[in-house]
């Protein structure tokens, strides 16, 4: 119910937004790595970095929208695994890949729809529902494909998913991602649909009273998330040339961590896609750099954790400092003049 309006007002940063900070941090990390880390700046490494980060980035797009609207989907990695498993199973049966891929995407849609219906029709908490489907979808994947590992997908598809344009750092797969990113940015930040998501996330009841079709919007979002997760599953299987039931296991935590790092507020109602994508690539780049300079996997985990904690504590501390400074400045200031002209009846 009524969350503290006061606490929210305080939490809100008046000056520097966190997504900008993450973006800046990404740029700094990239610049530093280019100049100081051997093997980072060459095209091959960059293409690897981007290619390996793409699955997280792909799912982060709908996840950001979902989190903005106050929900979460932890079953994404399992949906990806399921669509990979189905892809492998159908391929083994001799179906054409051109037919298989749409079927896989359809399965993703169904997975998302199931999540969405459970959340919107029964009013169940999405966290609980998707922990359940996280197990269920992965389980179905296991039933579908068992212990097989399917690797013999057609070369032109594998090349598209794993290759890069000429000798540049640009993987082929980056281009469709950029298109999807553009669509997502416009959808979230410039359409009525996106606007309504912010309202739903911040106060579902007020959104309903404003005539926003809350349940429908959420259902659409869950379905989209399922679709994107299965697309990621297909991409994953082709990128790594391996369809197994346990593909992408644990990816949900990486996505959630990256989205959180990007400043998306899990209370809903706040955040930008730019921040989320910057968060995804910041984590990806850091991991790449740390491996190159021989930081052990264990230490990398610590760095990720510290980064997350700092990402929420940092803005808070910064705000307190700036608030304290503002208070000192404001004390002797003259009475304020409102921006709006004096109202005339």
């Amino acid at each position: 119910m009524a969350d503290s309006a006061l606490a929210r007002a305080v939490r809100r940063s008046p000056s520097v937004r966190w997504d900008t900070v993450v973006g800046a941090l990404l740029v700094v990390v990239l610049l530093l790595s280019f100049t100081t880390v051997d093997g980072f700046g060459n095209a091959l490494n960059l293409s690897f970095l981007i290619g390996n980060t793409l699955p997280i980035a792909l799912i982060a797009l709908p996840m950001t929208l979902l989190v903005v609207s106050g929900e979460i989907d932890l079953s994404v990695a399992s949906t990806a695994g399921l669509s990979g498993a189905v892809m492998g199973a159908l391929w083994n049966q001799g179906m054409a890949i051109e037919t298989i891929i749409p079927v896989c995407l359809l399965i993703g849609v169904v997975c998302g729809l199931v999540n969405g219906l459970l959340v919107t029709r029964l009013g169940l908490p999405s966290l609980a529902v998707t922990i359940g489907t996280l197990a269920a979808y992965r389980g179905i994947a296991q039933i579908v494909l068992g212990s097989d590992a399917v690797t013999d997908f057609p070369a032109q598809y594998l090349d598209f998913a794993a290759g890069r344009i000429g000798d540049t750092f640009v993987p082929y797969a980056l281009l469709p991602f950029l298109v999807l990113l553009a669509i997502a940015v416009v959808a979230l930040h410039a359409t009525p649909f996106g606007r309504s998501l912010f309202a739903i996330g911040a106060s579902e009841e007020a959104a309903r009273f404003a005539g926003i079709r809350v349940r429908r919007q959420k259902l659409i979002l869950f379905t989209l998330t399922g679709l994107m997760a299965s697309l990621t599953g297909v991409f994953w299987a082709l990128h790594y040339a391996s369809a197994r039931y346990d593909n992408a296991t644990g990816l949900e935590l990486s996505v959630v961590a990256a989205v959180l790092l990007g400043g998306i507020d899990f209370d809903g109602g706040k955040g930008t896609l730019g921040g989320a994508v910057a968060g995804v690539f910041l984590l990806g780049a850091l991991q790449n750099v740390m491996s190159l300079v021989n930081v052990s996997a264990q230490s990398q985990i610590v760095v990720t954790g510290v980064l997350l904690v700092v990402s929420v504590l940092g803005p808070r501390v910064a705000r307190q400092i700036s608030a304290a400074r503002a208070a000192r400045r404001a004390a002797p200031a003259p009475p304020p003049v409102p921006e709006a002209p004096a109202p005339t009846p």
Partner: protein
């Protein structure tokens, strides 16, 4: 509900009985529903496999649930305050190893358990401080400490491991022993559970946890020391994760740097299945414990029925959803019935 009577005669007495009792019962029913699901499941399994409820079988069921019950109890407290602690799995892993190292060096089991609890308390305190003083989203912070504690654990443990051979025989026997079908570990868990439940219902600070989860701003205005309470909930949760770590060591006799990885999702599932609401303010530790018992039992029931392990994961997930869906539908039905009963007309 308001009856504005034109004359000043008291009217409060009238409403006292029906609504109150029923509402009271509803809350109990919620946990009863889970208990029922659990009993049905056990009965069906027993019908299909008479070995299931043998003395050994019951002991196994209780033992399996013990560790999850402890962690879920602590987690329930945190969730009731509208927060969450995702770092419990990492805490369990590192405390189990700490206890193991102590025992490996020929230490005293009691000291080892105390050490684990203390270490867990420390990490709980850290989480609590970050969440309450920083006033930042618990999900992010504890996801962060999940990684941090796990990282520290793996750096410290490296590829070392504690095996049963490193532990005093008495300690390992304690982990699997018990009084007939009731393991010692389960007795510890039950004692902790009952004490916590009593505290949550009958002590002011316990009720205040509910209050501040229900409406944090109102809690502040009511003069409840919000930060102190949140800190206490996290510390308690950490302490229980530490205790669970020590018991894990006794139970499995084996700890390495991966112990407890991914445990947070299981714990959260148990708490949610047990009817503790994620937006805070409602639910009980008994519910969380029942949820834990239900979840771990599913993992025993399926193998006992001879279900191929290929199916286990899918069935597990489906059951989890079913459990929360049934719980929800029952709650909705009861609410509707209540509304009709309380209608002011007629």
């Amino acid at each position: 509900m308001t009856v504005v009577s034109p004359d000043p005669t008291p009217v409060a007495e009238v409403a006292e009985s029906s609504g109150a009792r029923l509402a009271d019962r509803v809350f109990k029913v919620r946990e009863l529903a889970i208990l029922l699901v659990f009993l049905v499941m056990i009965a069906v399994t027993q019908a299909g496999n008479s070995e299931f409820l043998s003395e050994q079988g019951i002991k196994d069921l209780l033992l399996n649930a013990t560790i999850l019950v402890l962690v879920a109890t602590g987690q329930a407290l945190v969730v009731i305050t509208r927060n969450v602690d995702l770092s419990v799995g990492s805490t369990l892993g590192i405390t189990a190893f700490a206890a193991g190292i102590h025992l490996q060096g020929g230490g005293n089991p009691v000291v080892a358990i105390a050490l684990a609890v203390l270490l867990g308390t420390g990490f709980g305190l850290l989480n609590g401080l970050l969440v309450s003083l920083g006033q930042v989203p618990a999900l992010v912070v504890t996801l962060g400490t999940l990684y941090i504690i796990r990282g520290i654990d793996s750096i410290w443990v490296g590829s070392r491991q504690i095996t049963a051979a490193d532990l005093p025989a008495g300690f390992v026997d304690f982990g699997s022993g018990g009084i007939s079908a009731v393991p010692y570990l389960a007795l510890i868990a039950i004692a902790v559970l009952v004490a916590t439940a009593y505290y949550m219902k009958h002590f002011g600070s316990g009720r205040e946890l509910y209050a501040l989860g229900s409406n944090p701003e109102a809690a502040r205005l009511a003069g409840i020391p919000v930060r102190k309470r949140i800190l206490a909930a996290y510390t308690f949760c950490g302490a229980l994760a530490g205790l669970a770590g020590a018991l894990y060591l006794a139970r499995f006799g084996n700890v390495d740097s991966g112990t407890g990885t991914g445990y947070e999702l299981t714990v959260v599932s148990a708490v949610v299945v047990g009817g503790v609401v994620f937006t805070g303010g409602s639910g009980s530790v008994y519910g969380a414990a029942l949820g834990a018992l239900l979840l771990t039992s599913v993992n025993s029931v399926l193998p006992a029925l001879g279900v191929s392990s290929v199916w286990v994961l899918a069935i597990n997930g489906t059951l989890l959803i079913l459990a929360i869906a049934v719980d929800r539908i029952v709650a909705l039905r009861v609410a509707a019935a209540l509304k009709k009963r309380n209608a002011r007309h007629g």
